[in-house]
Structures are given as structure tokens and as C-alpha cells.
């Protein structure tokens, strides 16, 4: 038996439950209690594509150092689901801990001898205390929370306060929960050795950070950014973004007097309709968006091409999930990059932005609405299930009170009246971005016909090759302009000069940042650049040029971001080395460290040459 793991404020607790059994609230209370003790933590929900009765897990990483990506491995398993018992037991690190319901005893074969087994007769305690089925089921969760509270030396006050806030106004419920919590805690204190080797200690590392999921913050960003029209179709993991937008709007966007709505949200019949509505609203001057996931992106392809070619503002939040096809609807991936960047038939290129966490999801949601109006084209906000549906600990959201919406180039009635020349597809400023007019602006001037067919600079239908080429070239020029307007990359230099660089983006960031240290320790020094927008700023090309080998870390099979880099920046593929993780779980620092360290040894041996995969 290896010695029990000893760790203060730095371990992983995983809860194995059955979905629909009401464990979510208790597990959430656990994570929040840790935070209330000033200890940084992050949580990840691993759930099935199902409503009730199947296995679900809740993983909490506690890390005073503030590394909040998924770590991998489990130090303490709270195994509440017989269906997955074997799998769950197997996942525990040697010397780790198992908390289980010891009411009916299990054969030794069911356990491992290199872990610490902690039995709590949860069912027995429940049945002794409660009569109703539902009560027994629900409070069982609170009781194991109580036991954990003792075993990990949690501050019971913190948990109590949270319960008070959560059930505010429903005093009966508060009392009942506190009682259940106490039941568990007392039993553990009486019957078990508390605390364990893994334990918590109050500190002050959380500061003013907030614990939120990216769908909620992105939705709030859309509210702050001035989105007034949302058309959507339910699909995991994007539904909660639209639903959060609805909730936020009902709170913050109703006329104080008459309670009327300064927003319009339509649950469309499908994604073809939701994007169509967004295009219609954008054409007519409202800030509009939709939220979807892979299958929706596929269905939106035709309309996206129209918006590109007719130059209509639109914002699309793609909460990426396991794919292709219906794939793994409740798992995370970054695999829609190509289908978004080159969406639709024919020659098209689209603008993408990559938030790294819920905080950036808020700001970038608002940025996307400005970019759409400025560039008059669809803007993709590339989120994923990990950012969108998990609670992250991030800095508080901030909004510059002086920030004004950039409505882009819209010609006014005054300008038209004054006789300013208007050509819908005329590049007056040399940036490839033409002026548009909104329907109903002027009685005699500025009206034009919007179409997906080829046209001349004055929006007149034309089948002339030169009109077509002229327009397509301007669109390329506009795309070039975009690279200066999208969120710029962030650079991070290694502690010492190195020929290695790494590119990463989105939800990988948190794991990557943790990996730097570990790599440094191993003597692997990396200059790093976080990609935040596509098309790529010139800096990205320079960064690659400045290094001999550049790793591109992404969460998909086909190295899709690397494809964009090679193709759009004319980079020799031999220079950019793919680091790929795509099994549907969030990428970990452990994975990155190993993968890059291994590669470095390989490429250090072999000098720069064509790698033909």
C-alpha cells in the first residue's frame, strides 16, 4: 500500500453520480465552498446525452497555485454510481481516496488495495432519517457533502452560508439541508479519522474572481454589446447561451415603464431559419446573433455564403462539441475551425475569434457585434463545451462606461440628401469595406437590391466576368483589413532564448499556461503566442518566422488551425508541428507537457526537413 496522498489545497475530487438524481446541487455546493475558503478551484461536468438514469460525473480541481485546467487523474473519488463502480475505482491515483456508501457491504474484489477506502453508510443514515423516496435520494447527496466537509477539513460555515443564499426565502429547505449536512459531518467526525492527507486550508487566493460558465457570460456580452435580435434553435451545448440571453434580457432590457422588450428572441424551427433570421435582421440594421453547434453550422452553410457575398453583418456563436455528425454531443472539441473559416461553397473566407474563457467570452461577444457591423460579414465566436457549459474561476467582468458601439459604414439620410455618392459595393476608403444603407432611409436615394448573385459596384445584377472578379478581389482586400481589426494575438516569451515556439487558442489556454512551468522544469523553453482572431495578424507570421519549430496545440484530429496557418500564411508545414488531443475530454497540462517534450527530443535529433505524414 503506497503512502496516502498528502496534499493541501492541491488535489482533484471527482463525484460519480446518476443523472437526474439531484446530485448537481450538492456537488456545486462543494466547489463553491472551496472557493469561499479562498482556494481557487474549477469544475467540470461530464454528462451523457440523456435526461435521466445514466452516469454523470462532476470533477473539481482544487489548486491554490491557480492552475484550473483539467488536471487528469483523481485523488478522491466519491463513488455514488454502482453502474460505473469499476471504472471509477480504476481512475483513482495510487494512494488516493475512495468515499462510498457502505450500507450494504461489497466483496473485497470490488476494491483496490493501493487506495484508501472510506465507507459511509449513506443509505442507512438516510433511511433512518427520511421516509419519502425523493427526500432520501436528494439528501443522500447533502450527507456525503457533510462527510467530505469533515474529511477535507472544510469550513462548515462557508457551506452553510451558501445554502442560505441558494434557498433564500425558503427557510424550511435551508434547515433541512443544514440538518443533512450536519448528519454527514457528525457521522464522519465520530467514525472516521478526520481530516485526511488531502485537505483544505483557508487562504486568500480567490480574490474578486467569479465562478461562471461561458454561455452565460457570452450571452451577457451580447446584451452589453447591443444585440437586439436572437434567433436560435436548441442544440447542446449551445442552448444555454440563448436561454441565458433571454433571461438577461428579461431582467435588464425591459422598458422600466411599460415593461416592453428592447429585444426579440425567436426559437426558430431549425438552423436554416435561425441564421436566415439573423441575416434578415442584420440586413435591416439590428445587431443579431445565433448560437449553435456543429450540426447547426453545417445547416447554415448556404446562408453563410450569402452573408459573405452580399456582405451582411451576422454573429454566430459556435459552441463546439464532439463531432463529426451527431458525434459526442456532450463532449468538447475544437473541430469546427475549417467548416467555419471556409464555410459555404465557392471561394469564401470568414472571420473567427477565439475566447479563452468565460471572461473573454463576455468581451469578445460584444467585440463580435462591432466587428460584424464594421466588416459587414459573418463573425464566428468559437467557443466550446468546456468554456460554454462548465463553471470557471475567472476575473470579474468589466465594461468601459465610455464604450460606444461601432455601427460601421452606414450611409445616413443626411449624407444621401447631401448627394454623397453611394455605391453599395464601392470601395471608397481603400479598405475594401463599402458603405451600406438601411431600408427606409431616404425617399429617393440609396435604395438598392441585395442578392447572392454577381453584381457590379452599384449592386446592379451583372454576369460580366470583370465585375465579378473586381468584387471578389475587393472581398479579399476586405479580409486583409480584418486581420488588423480582430482581437490581436498575445505573446509570451520564454525565460531564455529558444528556437521553439507554440501556438494555442481558446479553452486550451488554461492548460497551456500550466504546462509552461512544467516544461521549463524539464528544460524545454517555449516562446508562446495565443491566437485570438482569424485572419491572422502579421505578428503570427513573424512569430513563426522567428522560430525553427512551432507547435500548434489544438483539440481536434486533423490539426485544423495548423491548416489555416499553413494555408493563409504560406508556412512550410514542416515548421509547424501538430499537438492534438481530441477524445472529447478537455486537454490537460499533463498531456501537453508530455507531447511537446517528446516532440522536442525527436525534432532536436532530426534537423528541419519535410515530414511527410
Amino acid at each position: 500500500m503506497p503512502k496516502p496522498i498528502e496534499a493541501v489545497n492541491d488535489f482533484v475530487v471527482k463525484f460519480a453520480n446518476v443523472n437526474g438524481s439531484g446530485s448537481a446541487s450538492a456537488n456545486g455546493l462543494f466547489a463553491k465552498s472551496v472557493l469561499r475558503m479562498g482556494i481557487p478551484a474549477s469544475s467540470r461536468n461530464i454528462f451523457p446525452s440523456n435526461i435521466q438514469g445514466l452516469p454523470t460525473w462532476y470533477e473539481v480541481r482544487i489548486c491554490e497555485a491557480g492552475h484550473l485546467g483539467r488536471r487528469g487523474g483523481v485523488d478522491m473519488m466519491v463513488a455514488m454510481n454502482p453502474q460505473t463502480w469499476n471504472k471509477d475505482i480504476a481512475e483513482i491515483e495510487p494512494g488516493g481516496y475512495l468515499l462510498y456508501d457502505s450500507t450494504r457491504d461489497l466483496p473485497p474484489s470490488k476494491f483496490r488495495d493501493d487506495i484508501n477506502i472510506i465507507g459511509v453508510p449513506l443509505t442507512e443514515i438516510c433511511n433512518r432519517t427520511y421516509t419519502q423516496m425523493r427526500e432520501r435520494q436528494l439528501f443522500k447527496n447533502v450527507i456525503y457533502l457533510g462527510a467530505l466537509s469533515a474529511l477535507l477539513d472544510m469550513d462548515p460555515e462557508a457551506t452553510a452560508t451558501l445554502i442560505g443564499e441558494q434557498f433564500k426565502g425558503r427557510d424550511k429547505l435551508i434547515a433541512a439541508n443544514l440538518h443533512a449536512l450536519k448528519l454527514g459531518r457528525d457521522w464522519a467526525l465520530e467514525n472516521l479519522e478526520c481530516p485526511l492527507g488531502v485537505r483544505l486550508r483557508r487562504t486568500d487566493k480567490v480574490g474578486d474572481s467569479i465562478f461562471v460558465n461561458g454561455n452565460d457570460t457570452a450571452a451577457l456580452g451580447a446584451v452589453y454589446g447591443g444585440a437586439t435580435v436572437c434567433a436560435w434553435y436548441p442544440i447542446t451545448p449551445s442552448s444555454s447561451l440563448a436561454e441565458a440571453f433571454s433571461a438577461h434580457c428579461h431582467r435588464y432590457r425591459r422598458d422600466p415603464e411599460n415593461k416592453k422588450h428592447k429585444f426579440a428572441i425567436v426559437q426558430a424551427e431549425d438552423e436554416l431559419a435561425s441564421i436566415g433570421m439573423v441575416v434578415g435582421a442584420g440586413w435591416n440594421g439590428a445587431r443579431a446573433f445565433t448560437a449553435t453547434s456543429g450540426p447547426g453550422i453545417s445547416l447554415m452553410q448556404e446562408f453563410i455564403g450569402l452573408a459573405y457575398f452580399a456582405e451582411i453583418p451576422a454573429v454566430i456563436f459556435d459552441i463546439q462539441r464532439g463531432s463529426p455528425s451527431t458525434g459526442m454531443p456532450t463532449r468538447t472539441q475544437q473541430a469546427d475551425i475549417l467548416s467555419c473559416a471556409y464555410a459555404s461553397h465557392g471561394d469564401t473566407k470568414h472571420v473567427l475569434i477565439f475566447p479563452k474563457d468565460p471572461n473573454e467570452a463576455f468581451t469578445m461577444a460584444a467585440d463580435a457585434l462591432d466587428l460584424a457591423d464594421r466588416l459587414q460579414t459573418p463573425i464566428f465566436v468559437m467557443l466550446d463545451l468546456d468554456i460554454g457549459m462548465n463553471e470557471w474561476l475567472v476575473p470579474p467582468l468589466a465594461w468601459d462606461p465610455n464604450r460606444k458601439y461601432d455601427r460601421g459604414k452606414v450611409m445616413t439620410a443626411e449624407q444621401l440628401e447631401a448627394g454623397v455618392e453611394f455605391g453599395r459595393y464601392l470601395d471608397v476608403d481603400g479598405d475594401g469595406i463599402p458603405f451600406r444603407t438601411l431600408p427606409g432611409t431616404h425617399p429617393r436615394r440609396g435604395a438598392f437590391f441585395t442578392r447572392g448573385t454577381s453584381k457590379d459596384r452599384y449592386a446592379r445584377y451583372s454576369e460580366e466576368g470583370h465585375d465579378y472578379v473586381d468584387n471578389m478581389q475587393r472581398l479579399l482586400h476586405k479580409f486583409d483589413t480584418a486581420k488588423r481589426l480582430v482581437p490581436q494575438p498575445e505573446k509570451r516569451m520564454a525565460t531564455e532564448a529558444t528556437k521553439f515556439g507554440v501556438l494555442y487558442f481558446g479553452s486550451t489556454t488554461v492548460a497551456m499556461e500550466e504546462a509552461f512551468e512544467a516544461l521549463d522544469d524539464r528544460g524545454v523553453h517555449l516562446d508562446a503566442m495565443r491566437l485570438r482572431g482569424f485572419p491572422f495578424a502579421d505578428e503570427v507570421a513573424d512569430f513563426i518566422a522567428d522560430h525553427e519549430r512551432v507547435f500548434v496545440v489544438e483539440q481536434n484530429r486533423d490539426a485544423q488551425m495548423r491548416t489555416l496557418i499553413v494555408n493563409e500564411l504560406e508556412i512550410d508545414p514542416a515548421k509547424v508541428v501538430p499537438i492534438l488531443h481530441y477524445d472529447g475530454t478537455p486537454i490537460t497540462a499533463r498531456f501537453i507537457v508530455k507531447a511537446i517534450a517528446d516532440m522536442v527530443s525527436v525534432v532536436t535529433l532530426a534537423p528541419l526537413r519535410k515530414v511527410r505524414s
Partner: protein
Amino acid sequence: MTYITKPRLHHPQLPTNKLGYTRRDYEGAISTLCAGCGHDSISAAIIQACFELSVEPHRVAKLSGIGCSSKTPTYFLGKSHGFNSVHGRMPSVLTGANLANRDLVYLGVSGDGDSASIGLGQFAHCIRRGVNMVYIVENNGVYGLTKGQFSATADKGSKTRKGPANTDSPIDMVSLALQLGASYVARSFSGDKNQLVPLIKGAIEHEGAAFIDVVSPCVAFNNNPESTKSYEYVRGHNEAVNRLDFMVDRTEITANYAPGTAVNIVQHDGSTLRLHKLALDYNPTDRVAALNYLARHHVSGEVVTGLLYVEQDHGDLHHFLETVDQPLNALGEAELCPGGDVLAHYNAAHR
């Protein structure tokens, strides 16, 4: 097809409307459709209706899908913004446009292929939502622009030039619209301007989803006498249940009809629909009866036309969504951005 602006010599003698516009001010580019195409007559009727109603041309947004019918918005209301979207998906684009600015008149023009084949779903759902619009289907039973394949409204057994006979049951757009909750439903014939123009005027003034199915023969591919979408057939089987006189206000009511032969329906905006009954047993305010009547007469091969159903105060999508009176596209930071305090609360609530 290029956007030819015609010389606007304003002959003083050209009649003008309330706004001082002449009929020419409502025209568009020269049509490039086949000579004799029913669609051109519908464009003329739209021009006439807008002129007579004194609609401000630039306050109309005209949207369409893809097809010969969907090309027609180029041929009327040259001063309006137009949007030739994608095939079968105009309804969603129109819905979004309408959400962005409730103050314009939304005119959706489509074809039977565009709305009954590829677009059936979007057609159905935008009707269900009660989008405030005039939705006109120029119904010829074929795909004109792609050279004559049959559409979902084609008669069972009808033959196209190339292909074999159609074996699918045809879709009756009017019955569908009724079932889906449209609050203003009419059918007419491109060849009957007197009937069509008032129906369009009534639809423009109606608040909610107004649908007009206009049989509009395709002379190039589906005008053979056996086709129920041919000039000859419709002329022979047109059974108008009523005649509509559209009046902006009641004072205009002049004609006297025998008792029981006429009804006045006052719309939300005070305008009046005076219906002169031709089929005395027909009641245009009973949805179920209307469906039944249509079905019975369809069996006997008749093309029932007229204002088939109208429901007042049904409300429209904005009404249902309780949106503010100002157009959403006119709201700015002041109205839309909750500001710093709210954000502070939000942050506090997530600690």
C-alpha cells in the same frame, strides 16, 4: 437584366396620389420575364395597389427567394430596398428583417417551388408566428427558372416536357395557410387585376400574416389547357366567393348592395374591407368553414378565389413578443447597455 432607370418625364396629366407620386414612381426595372408570364401582371397589380394606397415606396421592404417569381421585386418599387435571398428561405429573412424594424411594410414574393417545395417548412413556420407581412406566392405549378420541372403544387398526373408524369399529391397553399393560422388569406389570378389589386391593398393594411396565393401561368412551361395553372383553365373554373372593395375610410362607401350580400370588416388601422358576397353561403370569418368549403370545391375542380379568410385583432409577432414601439434597429447604447452597476451585481452574484 440590368437596373435600367427609365426617363421620368413627369407629364403633368399623369394622375398623382396623396403623396404626389405618380404610378411611375412605383415602377421598377424593365421585366426580363417571358412575354405573357403571369408574374408580370402581379408586379403591375402590386404597383397599382401601392400607388392607390399612397404607400411611401421607400418604406416598403421587398424580399424574395430564387426563381422567376422571386426575380419580380426588381420589376416594381424601384425606390424600395429589395432582397433576393436564397431559394426557399425568404420567410426567415423576412422574419428577421421585420424584427429589426417593425415600421416598414414587408412584402414577401415567392414561387410555388420556392414556398411549397424547398420552402414549405419556412413558409409554414413564418405563418404560424404571425409575422406582419404580405406573402404572395406566384403559383404556376412548375419551376420556371430551371426550365419546367414540376413543383409541389403541380397537379397529380401532370406531365412536364421532358420528365414523366407527376405522381405526388399537390399541396394547396391556401388550405395550408388557413390551417397554420394565417389571419388574412386570399386567392386570386394574375389575369384578374380587378380582384387582385384590392386584395393586395387589404393585405398591406392587415396586421399579421397575410397570405395571397395567386395563380400565375407560366407560358413557357405549364400553360397547356389541362394544367389547372393555365390561363384557359382558371378562366373556365374561377369561382370567386366575393369581391373586395378596399376603403381607407368608411366615408368612401358608396355602392349599395342588396341586404345580406355585403359585409364591412374594419381593420385595426380603421381601414375597411367591404366584401360583396358572390357565394352567399360563404363566410370569410370562419376558418374551419373556409377549409371545408375549399376542400369540397377543390374536389369538383373549381378554383375558389377571393378573400377567403380574415381575422381582426389577431395580433402579429411583435405583439406576441411584446417588443417596444421603436424599431429595434434604432436603439442605441443608452437603451441597450445595462451599464456598470448591473455588471457589479452580476459579478457579486457569482462569487
